[in-house]
Symmetry: C2
Subunit: 315 residues, 2 copies
Protein backbone atom coordinates (compact mmCIF):
# COMPACT_ATOMS: atom_id res chain seq x y z
CA UNK A 1 0.00 0.00 0.00
CA UNK A 2 1.06 3.57 -0.59
CA UNK A 3 1.97 5.96 2.20
CA UNK A 4 -1.43 7.52 2.24
CA UNK A 5 -4.25 5.02 2.68
CA UNK A 6 -6.97 5.43 0.08
CA UNK A 7 -10.43 5.16 1.60
CA UNK A 8 -13.76 5.16 -0.23
CA UNK A 9 -16.90 5.73 1.82
CA UNK A 10 -20.09 4.28 0.30
CA UNK A 11 -23.10 5.53 2.21
CA UNK A 12 -22.62 9.04 3.57
CA UNK A 13 -25.23 9.03 6.30
CA UNK A 14 -24.27 9.88 9.87
CA UNK A 15 -22.10 6.78 10.31
CA UNK A 16 -20.21 7.07 7.01
CA UNK A 17 -19.70 10.81 7.44
CA UNK A 18 -18.42 10.48 11.00
CA UNK A 19 -15.91 7.67 10.40
CA UNK A 20 -14.92 9.21 7.08
CA UNK A 21 -14.13 12.42 8.97
CA UNK A 22 -12.05 10.55 11.56
CA UNK A 23 -10.05 8.83 8.82
CA UNK A 24 -9.50 12.13 7.00
CA UNK A 25 -8.31 13.59 10.29
CA UNK A 26 -5.85 10.68 10.58
CA UNK A 27 -4.37 11.60 7.21
CA UNK A 28 -6.09 9.09 4.94
CA UNK A 29 -7.16 10.16 1.45
CA UNK A 30 -10.94 9.93 1.78
CA UNK A 31 -13.26 9.76 -1.20
CA UNK A 32 -17.02 9.46 -0.97
CA UNK A 33 -19.92 8.25 -3.10
CA UNK A 34 -23.10 10.28 -2.88
CA UNK A 35 -25.76 10.56 -5.50
CA UNK A 36 -28.21 12.89 -3.80
CA UNK A 37 -25.71 15.25 -2.13
CA UNK A 38 -23.02 15.13 -4.78
CA UNK A 39 -23.09 18.84 -5.61
CA UNK A 40 -23.30 19.96 -1.99
CA UNK A 41 -20.35 17.78 -0.92
CA UNK A 42 -18.19 18.76 -3.87
CA UNK A 43 -18.68 22.47 -3.18
CA UNK A 44 -18.83 22.57 0.61
CA UNK A 45 -17.37 19.27 1.76
CA UNK A 46 -18.83 16.97 4.38
CA UNK A 47 -19.80 18.87 7.50
CA UNK A 48 -19.43 17.02 10.81
CA UNK A 49 -19.92 18.88 14.09
CA UNK A 50 -18.91 17.08 17.25
CA UNK A 51 -19.80 18.33 20.71
CA UNK A 52 -16.76 16.42 22.03
CA UNK A 53 -14.21 16.65 19.26
CA UNK A 54 -15.04 20.00 17.68
CA UNK A 55 -15.31 20.61 13.94
CA UNK A 56 -14.58 17.38 12.07
CA UNK A 57 -15.68 18.63 8.64
CA UNK A 58 -13.57 17.49 5.71
CA UNK A 59 -13.27 17.96 1.96
CA UNK A 60 -13.32 14.56 0.21
CA UNK A 61 -10.49 14.01 -2.29
CA UNK A 62 -13.21 13.05 -4.80
CA UNK A 63 -16.97 13.00 -4.65
CA UNK A 64 -18.46 10.38 -6.95
CA UNK A 65 -22.05 10.13 -8.10
CA UNK A 66 -21.77 6.40 -8.34
CA UNK A 67 -19.25 3.62 -7.76
CA UNK A 68 -19.03 3.12 -11.53
CA UNK A 69 -17.06 6.38 -11.72
CA UNK A 70 -14.28 5.07 -9.50
CA UNK A 71 -11.13 4.46 -11.59
CA UNK A 72 -8.57 3.51 -8.96
CA UNK A 73 -9.95 1.06 -6.41
CA UNK A 74 -9.43 2.09 -2.77
CA UNK A 75 -7.38 0.27 -0.15
CA UNK A 76 -10.36 0.31 2.21
CA UNK A 77 -13.95 0.48 1.05
CA UNK A 78 -16.20 1.49 3.93
CA UNK A 79 -19.73 0.20 3.34
CA UNK A 80 -22.03 2.25 5.55
CA UNK A 81 -25.44 1.83 3.91
CA UNK A 82 -28.49 0.40 5.63
CA UNK A 83 -29.04 -3.33 5.18
CA UNK A 84 -32.40 -3.44 3.40
CA UNK A 85 -34.18 -6.08 1.33
CA UNK A 86 -34.17 -4.03 -1.84
CA UNK A 87 -30.52 -2.98 -1.79
CA UNK A 88 -28.00 -5.42 -3.26
CA UNK A 89 -24.93 -4.24 -1.40
CA UNK A 90 -22.50 -6.39 -3.41
CA UNK A 91 -23.70 -4.95 -6.72
CA UNK A 92 -23.65 -1.46 -5.24
CA UNK A 93 -19.90 -1.60 -4.53
CA UNK A 94 -18.74 -4.04 -7.22
CA UNK A 95 -17.41 -1.42 -9.71
CA UNK A 96 -15.17 0.09 -7.03
CA UNK A 97 -13.72 -3.14 -5.64
CA UNK A 98 -10.19 -3.96 -6.86
CA UNK A 99 -8.30 -7.21 -6.28
CA UNK A 100 -6.66 -5.81 -3.13
CA UNK A 101 -9.53 -3.72 -1.80
CA UNK A 102 -10.51 -4.58 1.75
CA UNK A 103 -14.27 -4.35 2.25
CA UNK A 104 -15.17 -2.82 5.59
CA UNK A 105 -18.74 -3.22 6.87
CA UNK A 106 -19.91 -0.62 9.37
CA UNK A 107 -23.47 -1.83 9.55
CA UNK A 108 -26.00 -3.20 12.01
CA UNK A 109 -27.39 -6.69 12.31
CA UNK A 110 -26.63 -10.35 12.34
CA UNK A 111 -25.44 -12.49 9.42
CA UNK A 112 -24.92 -9.49 7.17
CA UNK A 113 -21.49 -10.61 5.96
CA UNK A 114 -22.34 -13.76 3.91
CA UNK A 115 -23.62 -11.96 0.76
CA UNK A 116 -20.34 -10.02 0.56
CA UNK A 117 -18.14 -13.04 1.24
CA UNK A 118 -19.97 -14.79 -1.57
CA UNK A 119 -19.61 -11.89 -4.01
CA UNK A 120 -15.95 -11.14 -3.18
CA UNK A 121 -14.44 -14.40 -1.90
CA UNK A 122 -10.86 -13.26 -2.50
CA UNK A 123 -11.04 -9.82 -0.89
CA UNK A 124 -10.22 -9.20 2.75
CA UNK A 125 -13.40 -8.54 4.72
CA UNK A 126 -13.50 -6.42 7.84
CA UNK A 127 -16.62 -6.33 9.97
CA UNK A 128 -17.25 -3.52 12.45
CA UNK A 129 -19.68 -2.56 15.17
CA UNK A 130 -20.23 1.12 15.79
CA UNK A 131 -21.09 2.43 19.23
CA UNK A 132 -21.80 6.03 18.38
CA UNK A 133 -24.52 8.61 18.78
CA UNK A 134 -24.57 10.64 15.58
CA UNK A 135 -27.35 11.84 13.34
CA UNK A 136 -27.96 13.72 10.16
CA UNK A 137 -29.17 17.27 10.77
CA UNK A 138 -29.21 18.52 7.16
CA UNK A 139 -27.83 17.83 3.67
CA UNK A 140 -24.21 16.70 3.96
CA UNK A 141 -24.35 17.71 7.62
CA UNK A 142 -23.91 15.32 10.54
CA UNK A 143 -23.91 15.96 14.25
CA UNK A 144 -21.82 13.73 16.49
CA UNK A 145 -23.32 13.70 19.97
CA UNK A 146 -21.51 11.05 22.00
CA UNK A 147 -19.38 7.91 22.01
CA UNK A 148 -17.65 6.77 18.83
CA UNK A 149 -16.03 3.42 19.59
CA UNK A 150 -15.68 1.06 16.63
CA UNK A 151 -15.07 -2.63 17.35
CA UNK A 152 -13.17 -4.20 14.46
CA UNK A 153 -12.50 -7.77 13.36
CA UNK A 154 -12.33 -10.14 10.42
CA UNK A 155 -15.21 -12.34 9.41
CA UNK A 156 -15.97 -14.92 10.69
CA UNK A 157 -13.13 -14.53 13.20
CA UNK A 158 -9.53 -13.46 13.61
CA UNK A 159 -7.85 -10.21 12.67
CA UNK A 160 -6.52 -9.50 9.19
CA UNK A 161 -4.01 -6.76 8.23
CA UNK A 162 -6.78 -4.50 6.90
CA UNK A 163 -8.52 -4.63 10.29
CA UNK A 164 -5.25 -3.66 11.97
CA UNK A 165 -4.70 -0.84 9.52
CA UNK A 166 -8.20 0.54 10.05
CA UNK A 167 -7.88 0.33 13.83
CA UNK A 168 -4.56 2.16 13.76
CA UNK A 169 -5.91 4.95 11.57
CA UNK A 170 -9.01 5.48 13.70
CA UNK A 171 -6.97 5.57 16.88
CA UNK A 172 -4.75 8.19 15.22
CA UNK A 173 -7.94 10.08 14.40
CA UNK A 174 -8.89 10.11 18.08
CA UNK A 175 -11.33 7.25 18.28
CA UNK A 176 -11.30 4.12 20.40
CA UNK A 177 -11.05 1.28 17.87
CA UNK A 178 -10.38 -2.07 19.57
CA UNK A 179 -9.73 -5.24 17.59
CA UNK A 180 -11.93 -8.23 18.37
CA UNK A 181 -10.88 -11.80 17.62
CA UNK A 182 -14.52 -12.89 17.59
CA UNK A 183 -16.42 -10.12 15.91
CA UNK A 184 -19.46 -12.32 15.31
CA UNK A 185 -19.79 -12.88 19.05
CA UNK A 186 -19.73 -9.11 19.48
CA UNK A 187 -22.46 -8.79 16.86
CA UNK A 188 -24.62 -11.21 18.83
CA UNK A 189 -23.93 -9.29 22.02
CA UNK A 190 -25.18 -6.10 20.39
CA UNK A 191 -28.12 -8.00 18.88
CA UNK A 192 -29.33 -9.00 22.33
CA UNK A 193 -30.52 -5.44 22.91
CA UNK A 194 -31.21 -4.42 19.33
CA UNK A 195 -33.24 -7.45 18.23
CA UNK A 196 -35.28 -7.31 21.43
CA UNK A 197 -35.97 -3.59 21.66
CA UNK A 198 -35.63 -1.95 18.24
CA UNK A 199 -38.63 -3.60 16.54
CA UNK A 200 -40.60 -3.59 19.83
CA UNK A 201 -40.20 0.18 20.06
CA UNK A 202 -41.57 0.47 16.53
CA UNK A 203 -44.75 -1.56 17.09
CA UNK A 204 -45.19 0.41 20.32
CA UNK A 205 -45.57 3.58 18.23
CA UNK A 206 -41.94 4.74 18.31
CA UNK A 207 -41.46 4.32 22.05
CA UNK A 208 -38.56 5.70 24.05
CA UNK A 209 -36.48 3.41 26.28
CA UNK A 210 -38.36 4.77 29.30
CA UNK A 211 -41.73 3.84 27.81
CA UNK A 212 -40.39 0.42 26.75
CA UNK A 213 -39.47 -0.41 30.33
CA UNK A 214 -42.22 1.58 32.02
CA UNK A 215 -43.71 -1.19 34.16
CA UNK A 216 -42.71 -4.48 35.79
CA UNK A 217 -44.66 -6.35 33.15
CA UNK A 218 -42.83 -4.67 30.29
CA UNK A 219 -39.45 -5.11 32.00
CA UNK A 220 -40.26 -8.80 32.20
CA UNK A 221 -41.16 -8.83 28.51
CA UNK A 222 -37.93 -7.04 27.59
CA UNK A 223 -35.91 -9.51 29.63
CA UNK A 224 -37.59 -12.50 28.00
CA UNK A 225 -37.04 -11.08 24.51
CA UNK A 226 -33.34 -10.59 25.27
CA UNK A 227 -33.15 -14.09 26.77
CA UNK A 228 -34.51 -15.55 23.55
CA UNK A 229 -31.79 -13.78 21.55
CA UNK A 230 -29.23 -15.19 24.03
CA UNK A 231 -30.66 -18.68 23.47
CA UNK A 232 -30.18 -18.35 19.71
CA UNK A 233 -26.70 -16.88 20.16
CA UNK A 234 -25.70 -19.80 22.40
CA UNK A 235 -27.01 -22.33 19.89
CA UNK A 236 -25.04 -20.52 17.18
CA UNK A 237 -21.85 -20.93 19.23
CA UNK A 238 -21.79 -17.53 20.90
CA UNK A 239 -22.85 -17.98 24.53
CA UNK A 240 -23.59 -14.76 26.40
CA UNK A 241 -23.16 -14.11 30.13
CA UNK A 242 -26.18 -15.44 32.01
CA UNK A 243 -27.06 -12.11 33.59
CA UNK A 244 -26.84 -10.07 30.38
CA UNK A 245 -30.62 -9.57 29.94
CA UNK A 246 -31.20 -8.40 33.53
CA UNK A 247 -28.11 -6.18 33.47
CA UNK A 248 -29.17 -4.64 30.17
CA UNK A 249 -32.55 -3.66 31.64
CA UNK A 250 -30.87 -2.08 34.66
CA UNK A 251 -28.35 -0.21 32.51
CA UNK A 252 -30.98 1.04 30.08
CA UNK A 253 -33.09 2.36 32.95
CA UNK A 254 -30.10 4.33 34.22
CA UNK A 255 -29.78 6.26 30.95
CA UNK A 256 -31.89 9.24 29.99
CA UNK A 257 -34.81 8.20 27.74
CA UNK A 258 -33.94 7.96 24.08
CA UNK A 259 -35.26 6.69 20.77
CA UNK A 260 -33.22 3.86 19.28
CA UNK A 261 -32.24 4.02 15.60
CA UNK A 262 -35.16 1.96 14.34
CA UNK A 263 -37.65 3.98 16.37
CA UNK A 264 -36.19 7.12 14.77
CA UNK A 265 -36.43 5.56 11.31
CA UNK A 266 -40.07 4.70 12.01
CA UNK A 267 -40.95 8.15 13.36
CA UNK A 268 -39.29 9.79 10.35
CA UNK A 269 -40.90 7.52 7.76
CA UNK A 270 -37.59 5.98 6.72
CA UNK A 271 -36.89 2.35 5.78
CA UNK A 272 -36.21 0.07 8.74
CA UNK A 273 -33.54 -2.66 8.99
CA UNK A 274 -36.03 -5.25 10.26
CA UNK A 275 -34.47 -8.24 8.51
CA UNK A 276 -30.87 -7.48 9.48
CA UNK A 277 -31.75 -6.72 13.09
CA UNK A 278 -34.48 -9.28 13.85
CA UNK A 279 -35.35 -11.37 10.78
CA UNK A 280 -31.88 -12.93 10.62
CA UNK A 281 -32.09 -13.81 14.32
CA UNK A 282 -35.44 -15.52 13.68
CA UNK A 283 -33.98 -17.45 10.74
CA UNK A 284 -31.04 -18.58 12.87
CA UNK A 285 -33.51 -19.69 15.54
CA UNK A 286 -35.40 -21.79 12.97
CA UNK A 287 -32.21 -23.29 11.57
CA UNK A 288 -31.00 -24.21 15.05
CA UNK A 289 -34.43 -25.24 16.30
CA UNK A 290 -34.55 -22.73 19.16
CA UNK A 291 -38.07 -21.66 20.24
CA UNK A 292 -38.49 -17.86 20.22
CA UNK A 293 -42.25 -17.25 20.67
CA UNK A 294 -41.89 -13.68 21.94
CA UNK A 295 -39.49 -12.62 19.18
CA UNK A 296 -41.76 -14.36 16.63
CA UNK A 297 -44.66 -12.20 17.76
CA UNK A 298 -42.72 -8.94 17.56
CA UNK A 299 -41.40 -9.95 14.14
CA UNK A 300 -44.89 -10.80 12.87
CA UNK A 301 -46.33 -7.54 14.15
CA UNK A 302 -43.59 -5.39 12.65
CA UNK A 303 -43.92 -7.15 9.28
CA UNK A 304 -47.67 -6.44 9.32
CA UNK A 305 -46.90 -2.84 10.25
CA UNK A 306 -44.55 -2.52 7.27
CA UNK A 307 -47.30 -3.91 5.02
CA UNK A 308 -49.81 -1.47 6.52
CA UNK A 309 -47.48 1.49 5.98
CA UNK A 310 -46.67 0.42 2.40
CA UNK A 311 -50.38 0.03 1.64
CA UNK A 312 -51.10 3.48 3.03
CA UNK A 313 -48.37 5.03 0.88
CA UNK A 314 -49.64 3.23 -2.20
CA UNK A 315 -53.33 3.91 -1.51
Amino acid sequence: MTDRTRVLVVGTGAIGSFYGAILARAGAQVEVVSRSEHQQMREHGVRVDSSKMGDLSFQPATVYNDTSEVETPPDLLLLCVKVLDDIDRAELIRPAVGPDTAIVLIENGIEIEPPLVEAFPDNPLVSCLAFVAASRVGPAHTEHKAYGRLVIGSYPSGINPAAEQLSKLLEQGGINAPLAENLVTERWRKAVWNAAFNPLSVIAGGATTTDLLGSDNEQRLGTILMQEVCDVAAAAGHPMPEDLPEKSVVNTLKMPPYHNSMALDYLNGRDMEVEAILGNVIREARRLDVPVPHLDTVYGAVKILQRTLAGRQAG
Copy 2:
Protein backbone atom coordinates in the same frame (compact mmCIF):
# COMPACT_ATOMS: atom_id res chain seq x y z
CA MET B 1 -94.01 -5.01 34.81
CA THR B 2 -96.33 -2.65 32.99
CA ASP B 3 -97.62 -3.27 29.48
CA ARG B 4 -94.97 -1.09 27.99
CA THR B 5 -91.45 -2.11 28.94
CA ARG B 6 -89.40 0.80 30.23
CA VAL B 7 -85.87 0.77 28.82
CA LEU B 8 -83.01 3.09 29.74
CA VAL B 9 -80.00 3.19 27.41
CA VAL B 10 -76.75 4.29 29.07
CA GLY B 11 -74.12 4.90 26.44
CA THR B 12 -75.57 6.19 23.19
CA GLY B 13 -72.77 5.26 20.82
CA ALA B 14 -73.48 3.16 17.75
CA ILE B 15 -74.40 0.04 19.75
CA GLY B 16 -76.69 1.78 22.25
CA SER B 17 -78.37 3.84 19.55
CA PHE B 18 -79.00 0.84 17.31
CA TYR B 19 -80.46 -1.49 19.93
CA GLY B 20 -82.36 1.40 21.51
CA ALA B 21 -83.90 2.03 18.10
CA ILE B 22 -84.88 -1.63 17.69
CA LEU B 23 -86.53 -1.65 21.12
CA ALA B 24 -88.40 1.58 20.36
CA ARG B 25 -89.54 -0.02 17.12
CA ALA B 26 -90.82 -2.98 19.16
CA GLY B 27 -92.96 -0.65 21.25
CA ALA B 28 -90.82 -0.23 24.35
CA GLN B 29 -90.64 3.13 26.08
CA VAL B 30 -86.99 4.03 25.48
CA GLU B 31 -85.16 6.67 27.49
CA VAL B 32 -81.53 7.58 27.00
CA VAL B 33 -78.70 9.15 28.98
CA SER B 34 -76.39 11.44 27.06
CA ARG B 35 -74.36 14.24 28.47
CA SER B 36 -72.65 15.52 25.34
CA GLU B 37 -75.54 15.17 22.88
CA HIS B 38 -78.36 15.91 25.29
CA GLN B 39 -79.67 18.98 23.45
CA GLN B 40 -79.36 17.41 20.02
CA MET B 41 -81.23 14.27 21.05
CA ARG B 42 -83.97 16.13 22.87
CA GLU B 43 -84.67 18.32 19.85
CA HIS B 44 -84.07 15.97 16.96
CA GLY B 45 -84.15 12.49 18.48
CA VAL B 46 -81.67 9.71 17.85
CA ARG B 47 -81.00 9.24 14.17
CA VAL B 48 -80.28 5.71 12.98
CA ASP B 49 -80.03 4.95 9.27
CA SER B 50 -79.94 1.32 8.24
CA SER B 51 -79.10 0.16 4.75
CA LYS B 52 -81.11 -3.00 5.45
CA MET B 53 -83.93 -1.87 7.71
CA GLY B 54 -84.50 1.70 6.55
CA ASP B 55 -84.93 4.66 8.85
CA LEU B 56 -84.77 3.49 12.48
CA SER B 57 -84.61 6.95 14.04
CA PHE B 58 -86.58 7.42 17.24
CA GLN B 59 -87.51 10.10 19.74
CA PRO B 60 -86.55 8.98 23.26
CA ALA B 61 -89.31 9.29 25.87
CA THR B 62 -86.81 11.22 27.99
CA VAL B 63 -83.25 12.36 27.40
CA TYR B 64 -81.28 12.61 30.64
CA ASN B 65 -78.02 14.42 31.17
CA ASP B 66 -77.05 11.98 33.83
CA THR B 67 -78.39 8.87 35.58
CA SER B 68 -78.90 10.96 38.74
CA GLU B 69 -81.87 12.62 37.01
CA VAL B 70 -83.74 9.33 36.58
CA GLU B 71 -86.73 9.25 38.95
CA THR B 72 -88.45 6.00 37.98
CA PRO B 73 -85.99 3.14 37.53
CA PRO B 74 -86.34 1.26 34.21
CA ASP B 75 -87.29 -2.38 33.75
CA LEU B 76 -84.24 -2.91 31.56
CA LEU B 77 -81.10 -0.81 31.84
CA LEU B 78 -78.95 -1.29 28.72
CA LEU B 79 -75.32 -0.58 29.54
CA CYS B 80 -73.55 0.11 26.25
CA VAL B 81 -70.44 2.06 27.29
CA LYS B 82 -66.90 0.97 26.57
CA VAL B 83 -65.18 -1.05 29.27
CA LEU B 84 -62.25 1.17 30.21
CA ASP B 85 -59.98 1.37 33.25
CA ASP B 86 -61.10 4.84 34.25
CA ILE B 87 -64.86 4.30 34.01
CA ASP B 88 -66.57 2.76 37.05
CA ARG B 89 -69.59 1.32 35.30
CA ALA B 90 -71.39 0.37 38.53
CA GLU B 91 -71.20 3.93 39.86
CA LEU B 92 -72.21 5.27 36.47
CA ILE B 93 -75.56 3.47 36.53
CA ARG B 94 -76.20 3.20 40.30
CA PRO B 95 -78.65 6.15 40.59
CA ALA B 96 -80.91 4.65 37.92
CA VAL B 97 -80.97 1.07 39.21
CA GLY B 98 -84.14 0.15 41.11
CA PRO B 99 -84.71 -3.05 43.09
CA ASP B 100 -86.31 -4.75 40.04
CA THR B 101 -84.17 -3.25 37.31
CA ALA B 102 -82.50 -5.84 35.12
CA ILE B 103 -79.01 -4.76 34.09
CA VAL B 104 -78.23 -5.63 30.48
CA LEU B 105 -74.62 -5.53 29.32
CA ILE B 106 -74.06 -5.05 25.61
CA GLU B 107 -70.31 -4.78 25.81
CA ASN B 108 -67.18 -6.49 24.55
CA GLY B 109 -64.65 -8.53 26.45
CA ILE B 110 -64.12 -11.29 28.95
CA GLU B 111 -64.89 -11.20 32.68
CA ILE B 112 -66.67 -7.87 32.42
CA GLU B 113 -69.68 -8.98 34.51
CA PRO B 114 -68.11 -9.45 37.99
CA PRO B 115 -67.92 -5.75 38.97
CA LEU B 116 -71.66 -5.40 38.28
CA VAL B 117 -72.61 -8.62 40.05
CA GLU B 118 -70.70 -7.33 43.05
CA ALA B 119 -72.31 -3.90 43.00
CA PHE B 120 -75.87 -5.16 42.37
CA PRO B 121 -76.02 -8.71 43.76
CA ASP B 122 -79.83 -8.76 43.94
CA ASN B 123 -80.59 -7.44 40.45
CA PRO B 124 -81.09 -9.71 37.46
CA LEU B 125 -78.09 -9.49 35.16
CA VAL B 126 -78.30 -10.10 31.43
CA SER B 127 -75.14 -10.38 29.38
CA CYS B 128 -75.17 -9.92 25.61
CA LEU B 129 -72.88 -10.26 22.64
CA ALA B 130 -73.51 -8.01 19.68
CA PHE B 131 -72.70 -9.10 16.15
CA VAL B 132 -73.37 -5.89 14.32
CA ALA B 133 -71.64 -3.49 11.96
CA ALA B 134 -72.71 -0.01 12.99
CA SER B 135 -70.81 3.21 13.49
CA ARG B 136 -71.31 6.79 14.51
CA VAL B 137 -71.27 9.16 11.56
CA GLY B 138 -72.13 12.39 13.41
CA PRO B 139 -73.64 13.77 16.62
CA ALA B 140 -76.61 11.61 17.63
CA HIS B 141 -76.35 9.93 14.23
CA THR B 142 -75.56 6.24 13.72
CA GLU B 143 -75.29 4.24 10.54
CA HIS B 144 -76.19 0.55 10.63
CA LYS B 145 -74.32 -1.27 7.90
CA ALA B 146 -74.85 -4.99 8.38
CA TYR B 147 -75.77 -7.83 10.72
CA GLY B 148 -77.41 -7.09 14.07
CA ARG B 149 -77.71 -10.38 15.93
CA LEU B 150 -77.63 -10.12 19.70
CA VAL B 151 -76.85 -13.29 21.69
CA ILE B 152 -78.48 -13.06 25.11
CA GLY B 153 -78.05 -14.97 28.37
CA SER B 154 -77.79 -14.67 32.14
CA TYR B 155 -74.49 -14.53 33.93
CA PRO B 156 -72.74 -16.86 34.62
CA SER B 157 -75.20 -19.20 32.87
CA GLY B 158 -78.86 -19.98 32.32
CA ILE B 159 -81.64 -17.72 31.11
CA ASN B 160 -83.58 -15.40 33.39
CA PRO B 161 -86.96 -13.77 32.63
CA ALA B 162 -85.32 -10.44 31.77
CA ALA B 163 -83.21 -12.17 29.11
CA GLU B 164 -86.36 -13.74 27.66
CA GLN B 165 -88.16 -10.41 27.69
CA LEU B 166 -85.28 -8.65 25.92
CA SER B 167 -85.01 -11.39 23.31
CA LYS B 168 -88.74 -11.23 22.58
CA LEU B 169 -88.71 -7.45 22.19
CA LEU B 170 -85.71 -7.47 19.86
CA GLU B 171 -87.23 -10.20 17.71
CA GLN B 172 -90.40 -8.09 17.51
CA GLY B 173 -88.18 -5.21 16.45
CA GLY B 174 -86.83 -7.28 13.58
CA ILE B 175 -83.55 -8.52 14.99
CA ASN B 176 -82.24 -12.03 15.48
CA ALA B 177 -81.85 -12.35 19.26
CA PRO B 178 -81.13 -15.95 20.31
CA LEU B 179 -80.92 -16.98 23.94
CA ALA B 180 -77.75 -18.77 25.06
CA GLU B 181 -77.62 -21.04 28.09
CA ASN B 182 -73.87 -20.53 28.34
CA LEU B 183 -73.25 -16.92 27.51
CA VAL B 184 -69.75 -16.97 28.99
CA THR B 185 -68.77 -19.72 26.57
CA GLU B 186 -70.04 -17.49 23.76
CA ARG B 187 -67.94 -14.62 25.13
CA TRP B 188 -64.86 -16.83 24.98
CA ARG B 189 -65.73 -17.88 21.45
CA LYS B 190 -65.85 -14.23 20.39
CA ALA B 191 -62.66 -13.53 22.37
CA VAL B 192 -60.73 -16.08 20.32
CA TRP B 193 -60.75 -13.67 17.38
CA ASN B 194 -60.91 -10.39 19.25
CA ALA B 195 -58.16 -11.03 21.81
CA ALA B 196 -55.88 -12.36 19.08
CA PHE B 197 -56.44 -9.77 16.36
CA ASN B 198 -57.75 -6.53 17.85
CA PRO B 199 -54.63 -5.51 19.80
CA LEU B 200 -52.37 -7.02 17.10
CA SER B 201 -53.97 -4.78 14.49
CA VAL B 202 -53.24 -1.79 16.73
CA ILE B 203 -49.52 -2.47 17.23
CA ALA B 204 -49.36 -3.12 13.48
CA GLY B 205 -50.35 0.51 12.89
CA GLY B 206 -54.10 0.02 12.54
CA ALA B 207 -53.91 -2.89 10.12
CA THR B 208 -56.83 -4.26 8.12
CA THR B 209 -57.71 -7.95 8.24
CA THR B 210 -56.00 -8.42 4.88
CA ASP B 211 -52.76 -6.93 6.15
CA LEU B 212 -52.98 -8.97 9.37
CA LEU B 213 -53.09 -12.19 7.38
CA GLY B 214 -50.97 -11.07 4.44
CA SER B 215 -48.37 -13.84 4.50
CA ASP B 216 -47.98 -17.45 5.61
CA ASN B 217 -45.88 -16.32 8.54
CA GLU B 218 -48.54 -13.91 9.79
CA GLN B 219 -51.32 -16.46 9.25
CA ARG B 220 -49.31 -18.80 11.44
CA LEU B 221 -48.94 -16.08 14.07
CA GLY B 222 -52.67 -15.35 14.00
CA THR B 223 -53.46 -19.04 14.37
CA ILE B 224 -51.11 -19.42 17.34
CA LEU B 225 -52.55 -16.33 19.06
CA MET B 226 -56.08 -17.74 18.67
CA GLN B 227 -54.90 -21.16 19.88
CA GLU B 228 -53.55 -19.55 23.05
CA VAL B 229 -56.96 -17.95 23.71
CA CYS B 230 -58.53 -21.37 23.15
CA ASP B 231 -56.11 -22.90 25.67
CA VAL B 232 -57.16 -20.36 28.31
CA ALA B 233 -60.83 -20.82 27.46
CA ALA B 234 -60.51 -24.60 27.86
CA ALA B 235 -58.75 -24.22 31.22
CA ALA B 236 -61.57 -21.86 32.29
CA GLY B 237 -64.12 -24.55 31.47
CA HIS B 238 -65.12 -23.40 28.00
CA PRO B 239 -63.49 -25.74 25.47
CA MET B 240 -63.62 -24.55 21.87
CA PRO B 241 -63.76 -26.72 18.73
CA GLU B 242 -60.26 -27.85 17.83
CA ASP B 243 -60.33 -26.38 14.34
CA LEU B 244 -61.64 -22.95 15.41
CA PRO B 245 -58.33 -21.04 14.89
CA GLU B 246 -57.71 -22.45 11.39
CA LYS B 247 -61.34 -21.96 10.37
CA SER B 248 -61.30 -18.38 11.64
CA VAL B 249 -58.30 -17.56 9.48
CA VAL B 250 -59.99 -19.06 6.43
CA ASN B 251 -63.25 -17.22 7.10
CA THR B 252 -61.53 -13.90 7.72
CA LEU B 253 -59.63 -14.19 4.46
CA LYS B 254 -62.93 -14.70 2.62
CA MET B 255 -64.30 -11.37 3.80
CA PRO B 256 -63.44 -8.01 2.27
CA PRO B 257 -60.66 -6.26 4.23
CA TYR B 258 -61.88 -4.28 7.21
CA HIS B 259 -60.67 -2.52 10.33
CA ASN B 260 -61.82 -4.13 13.57
CA SER B 261 -63.28 -1.91 16.30
CA MET B 262 -60.02 -1.48 18.21
CA ALA B 263 -58.11 -0.63 15.05
CA LEU B 264 -60.73 2.04 14.34
CA ASP B 265 -60.45 3.36 17.90
CA TYR B 266 -56.67 3.54 17.47
CA LEU B 267 -56.82 5.25 14.08
CA ASN B 268 -59.33 7.79 15.43
CA GLY B 269 -57.40 8.51 18.64
CA ARG B 270 -60.11 7.06 20.88
CA ASP B 271 -59.69 5.01 24.05
CA MET B 272 -59.15 1.29 23.46
CA GLU B 273 -60.70 -1.60 25.43
CA VAL B 274 -57.35 -3.35 25.86
CA GLU B 275 -58.02 -4.72 29.34
CA ALA B 276 -61.52 -6.06 28.61
CA ILE B 277 -60.47 -7.63 25.32
CA LEU B 278 -56.97 -8.94 26.08
CA GLY B 279 -55.85 -8.02 29.63
CA ASN B 280 -58.59 -10.12 31.21
CA VAL B 281 -57.62 -13.10 29.04
CA ILE B 282 -54.01 -12.71 30.19
CA ARG B 283 -55.11 -12.56 33.84
CA GLU B 284 -57.20 -15.70 33.41
CA ALA B 285 -54.15 -17.38 31.84
CA ARG B 286 -52.03 -16.46 34.86
CA ARG B 287 -54.68 -17.62 37.32
CA LEU B 288 -55.05 -20.95 35.51
CA ASP B 289 -51.32 -21.30 34.81
CA VAL B 290 -51.68 -21.46 31.03
CA PRO B 291 -48.62 -20.28 29.05
CA VAL B 292 -49.51 -17.57 26.51
CA PRO B 293 -46.14 -16.19 25.28
CA HIS B 294 -47.50 -14.77 22.03
CA LEU B 295 -50.46 -13.04 23.69
CA ASP B 296 -48.09 -11.76 26.42
CA THR B 297 -45.96 -10.09 23.77
CA VAL B 298 -48.89 -8.41 22.03
CA TYR B 299 -50.24 -7.27 25.39
CA GLY B 300 -46.86 -5.84 26.44
CA ALA B 301 -46.44 -4.00 23.14
CA VAL B 302 -49.92 -2.48 23.20
CA LYS B 303 -49.46 -1.33 26.81
CA ILE B 304 -46.20 0.38 25.81
CA LEU B 305 -48.01 1.92 22.85
CA GLN B 306 -50.70 3.31 25.15
CA ARG B 307 -47.97 4.80 27.36
CA THR B 308 -46.24 6.29 24.31
CA LEU B 309 -49.49 7.84 23.06
CA ALA B 310 -50.35 9.21 26.53
CA GLY B 311 -46.87 10.71 26.85
CA ARG B 312 -47.19 12.34 23.44
CA GLN B 313 -50.55 13.88 24.36
CA ALA B 314 -49.19 15.12 27.69
CA GLY B 315 -45.91 16.36 26.22
